[in-house]
C-alpha cells in the first residue's frame, strides 16, 4: 500500500496542454476521485500515474519514491480499464494469474490467491471460462480481481463503471467500495459521473480544462462549490447575480434581483472578502416549489410559474419562471406534481445557498 504524490505535474501534447501543472497528494488507503467532463485531463493524469504517459514536467512519487523513470511494468499498480481489457484468449484463471506469473509466485500459491480473489469478487465458479462467456458486470469484477490479486501499491480505476447499465452500475459502485475498504488500498478513481464520485470517494478532485477546480471531501465539494463550474457540474444548480451588502461576523447579507435580501452563514461564502458583486448558487433541490400563496419557515417566497415538468417517479424537476429567469427545482413529490403553467410559490432559504465572487470575465 502506498501514497501517491504529484508535484507540479503537467502534460502537453504538441501545442495543447492537457494537464496544467498540478500538485496532488493521495494519502495511504484513501479513495480519491478525479471528476470532470471528458477532456478535462483526468484520464491523462491517471495515465501519467500509471506510467502509460510520461509527464511533460513535474514529478510523480509512489510510496515516496519518484517513479518518473520507472516503466509501467515495474510500478506495481493495479489498473482497471474502462473496457476491462481482459485477455480474450486466456481463461479467467489465466487472466487473474497473469500478474502473479511475473512475480515469481509458486503454482500452489497462485491457485490459492486466484481462488481467494474470486471469492472476494463473489465469482468463485468462473475460473475455467473465457471472458466472453461472462456478462459485463462479471467481466468488470474479474478485471478488478486481476488488478488486486498482485497486491499493488495503488489501484487505478479508469471509468470502470461507465460500460455497465444503470442498475448494475449502482450495485457495482457499492461492491467496489466494499472491496476497496476491505483491502484498504490507496485508490485513484476517474469518472465523469458526479453521483459515482459523491458515493464512493473519500476525496474528490474536480477538474476542468486541465486544471483542478476544487479538491475536498464529497460533502464539502457538493455543499460549498468553489467555482461556478463545480456548482454546475455536481448536480443541477441555479446561478443568480447578487450583490454582497453587509459582512457580519457570522453572517453575510446579499441582495438578489429574484429573492430580495438573503442572509447566509459565513462558512457558505468562504471566498467572499468584501462587499460587491457576487454570484448566488442555489442547488435545484433547495428550490422548494409550493402551492401559490404558501410560504416556508425561514424562506424567501416569490411567485413563479411552472414552464416545464420533468417527472422522475419519486421526484420531479420543475423549470420555474421567476421574473426574467428560469430556475430549476428538484423536489420530492408529496401528492401530485404541479402541472405545466401552474402558478406557484418558489421558496429559497439563505442558509441553503452558496455565495461565490463574481466570475472573472
Amino acid at each position: 500500500m502506498g501514497t501517491v504524490t504529484l508535484e507540479n505535474v503537467s502534460k502537453r501534447f504538441g501545442g495543447f496542454t492537457a494537464v496544467h501543472p498540478t500538485s496532488l497528494h493521495i494519502p495511504e488507503g484513501s479513495f480519491l476521485t478525479l471528476l470532470g467532463p471528458s477532456g478535462c485531463g483526468k484520464t491523462t493524469t491517471l495515465r501519467m500515474i500509471a506510467g502509460l504517459l510520461d509527464p511533460s514536467d513535474g514529478e510523480i512519487f509512489i510510496k515516496g519514491k519518484s517513479v518518473n523513470n520507472l516503466p509501467i511494468y515495474k510500478r506495481n499498480l493495479g489498473i482497471v480499464f474502462q473496457n476491462y481489457a481482459l485477455f480474450p484468449h486466456k481463461t479467467i484463471f489465466e487472466n487473474i494469474a497473469f500478474g502473479l506469473k511475473y512475480r515469481g509466485v509458486s503454482k500452489q500459491e497462485t491457485a490459492r490467491r486466484v481462488r481467494d480473489v474470486l471469492d472476494l469478487v463473489q465469482l468463485p465458479h468462473v475460473a475455467d471460462r473465457y471472458p466472453k462467456a461472462l456478462s459485463g458486470g462479471q467481466q468488470q469484477r474479474i478485471a478488478l480481481a486481476r488488478a488486486i490479486v498482485i497486491e499493488p501499491d495503488v489501484l487505478l480505476l479508469d471509468e470502470p463503471l461507465s460500460a455497465l447499465d444503470a442498475n448494475l452500475r449502482e450495485d457495482m459502485r457499492v461492491e467496489l467500495k466494499r472491496i476497496q475498504h476491505q483491502i484498504g488500498i490507496t485508490t485513484v478513481f476517474v469518472t465523469h459521473d458526479q453521483s459515482e464520485a459523491l458515493a464512493m470517494s473519500d476525496e474528490i478532485v474536480v477538474m476542468s480544462a486541465g486544471r483542478i477546480e476544487q479538491q475536498g471531501q464529497p460533502e464539502a465539494v457538493y455543499n460549498t462549490p468553489a467555482t461556478e463550474f463545480v456548482a454546475r457540474f455536481l448536480g443541477a444548480s441555479n446561478v443568480l447575480p447578487a450583490t454582497t451588502q453587509v459582512m457580519a461576523a457570522e453572517d453575510i447579507q446579499v441582495e438578489t434581483n429574484h429573492f430580495g435580501r438573503l442572509v447566509l452563514p459565513r462558512k457558505r461564502a468562504p471566498q467572499i472578502e468584501g462587499e460587491g458583486r457576487s454570484q448566488l448558487i442555489v442547488r435545484a433541490e433547495k428550490v422548494h416549489v409550493e402551492p401559490a400563496g404558501q410560504t416556508m419557515d425561514g424562506a424567501i417566497s416569490v411567485p413563479g410559474r411552472i414552464e416545464a415538468v420533468d417527472y422522475q417517479g419519486q421526484a420531479v424537476r420543475y423549470f420555474v419562471r421567476v421574473g426574467d429567469t428560469q430556475l430549476q427545482a428538484l423536489n420530492m413529490i408529496k401528492e401530485h406534481p404541479f402541472e405545466e403553467g401552474a402558478e406557484v410559490s418558489v421558496n429559497v432559504r439563505g442558509w441553503d445557498c452558496t455565495l461565490l465572487p463574481e466570475a472573472a470575465a
Partner: protein
C-alpha cells in the same frame, strides 16, 4: 405466395448469381479437366476419347514429377516463412502508426496497379547482367565483370516474396487492427515488459491473421508458374510449369489435366490439414 415461402426462397435468390458464376466458371471447367485427364494423347497428336489411366499412372509414379512437386512445396514454404518474418513487423508498424495509416495501406496496394508479370520482369532490370545492381557494383569497383545473379532458386523465392508479401501484410494488419491496444497496457500494468506483453497478448491474438496470410502465400506460391519461368533457371521449374509445358508446349491436354488435378488435390489437402490443426479453433473459442 405466403410470407414463409418467400422468406425461405430469399437466400436462394440472393445466392443465385454467385452460385451460377462459380458453377459455370469453376465447377463445369473442372469437370472438363477431370474428363480430359482420362483421355489419351496418341502419337498422331490427336486425343483419343475414352477411359485411360495412363496419364494418372505416369503422373503418380514418375519420380521426376514427385521431385518437382516436393521442390514446389519447399519453395512455397520458404516463401511463406520469409513473407511472415518480413510481413509481420511491417503490418505491426502500420497498425500501430498514428494518423498516416491510410497512406501506408495505399502504398501497400500500389504494386497491384502494375501487372504481376511486369513486376516480376522488373527484377531482370535490377539483378540482371546489365541491371542496376551490377552497374552499381561495377561503378564502385567491387567487381570488374557483371555477376549472374538471376535464374536460380533464390531469385524465384525473391520474386515470389515480392509478389506475395502484400497479401501477408494485409492479413496480419487486419487482425492486428482488431486487437484492443489497452490489452497490451493491461499486460504491462501486471508486470510484463513491452516485449513479453507482445508475446503473451498481441502475437497469439494475431495468429488467425498470420495463419490466413500464410495459407494464402503458400497456396498462391505453390501454384505459380510465371515467377520460375521469368526468374528461375532450367532446373528451377515448379509444378505449375509442368502443367504449362504439357498443355501449351506439348499440347498434351490429357497429361496436363492429370498434373493440374494432382496439384489441386495436394494443395486442397494442405488447406484441409491446415484448417484441422492450425484452424485456430481453440483460439476462436475465446473470441466468440
Amino acid at each position: 405466395m405466403t410470407v414463409e415461402t418467400r422468406e425461405a426462397r430469399q437466400p436462394i435468390i440472393l445466392l443465385t448469381p454467385a452460385l451460377s458464376t462459380i458453377g459455370l466458371l469453376l465447377i463445369v471447367p473442372l469437370g472438363f479437366v477431370v474428363v480430359y485427364s482420362f483421355w489419351l494423347r496418341t502419337a498422331t497428336g490427336a486425343d483419343q476419347v475414352g477411359f485411360f489411366l495412363d496419364n494418372w499412372v505416369e503422373s503418380l509414379t514418375d519420380p521426376f514429377y514427385r521431385d518437382i512437386l516436393l521442390n514446389t512445396i519447399k519453395i512455397a514454404l520458404i516463401t511463406t516463412v520469409v513473407c511472415a518474418l518480413a510481413g509481420y513487423p511491417t503490418a505491426y508498424f502500420i497498425a500501430r502508426s498514428n494518423g498516416n495509416r491510410l497512406v501506408l495501406l495505399l502504398l501497400l496496394m500500389l504494386p497491384f496497379w502494375i501487372s504481376y508479370i511486369i513486376r516480376t520482369m522488373s527484377w531482370i532490370n535490377i539483378l540482371g547482367v546489365s541491371g542496376a545492381f551490377n552497374w552499381a557494383l561495377m561503378s564502385v569497383g567491387l567487381t570488374s565483370e557483371p555477376i549472374q545473379m538471376l535464374y536460380n532458386e533464390a531469385t524465384v523465392i525473391l520474386g515470389l516474396v515480392h509478389f506475395l508479401l502484400p497479401f501477408m501484410i494485409l492479413n496480419v494488419y487486419v487482425s492486428l487492427e482488431g486487437i484492443d491496444r489497452t490489452l497490451e497496457d493491461a499486460a504491462c500494468s501486471l508486470g510484463a515488459n513491452r516485449w513479453r506483453a507482445f508475446l503473451e497478448v498481441t502475437l497469439p491474438l494475431s495468429l488467425p491473421g498470420l495463419a490466413a496470410g500464410g495459407l494464402l502465400c503458400f497456396v498462391l506460391g505453390a501454384g505459380t508458374y510465371i515467377t520460375p519461368l521469368v526468374l528461375g533457371g532450367p532446373t528451377d521449374a515448379m509444378f505449375a510449369n509442368l502443367v504449362f509445358e504439357a498443355i501449351i508446349t506439348q499440347l498434351n491436354w490429357p497429361l496436363g489435366s492429370a498434373l493440374s488435378l494432382m496439384l489441386l488435390v495436394v494443395l486442397g489437402a494442405v488447406v484441409m490439414v491446415y484448417n484441422r490443426y492450425l484452424g485456430m479453433t481453440q483460439l476462436m473459442k475465446g473470441l466468440q
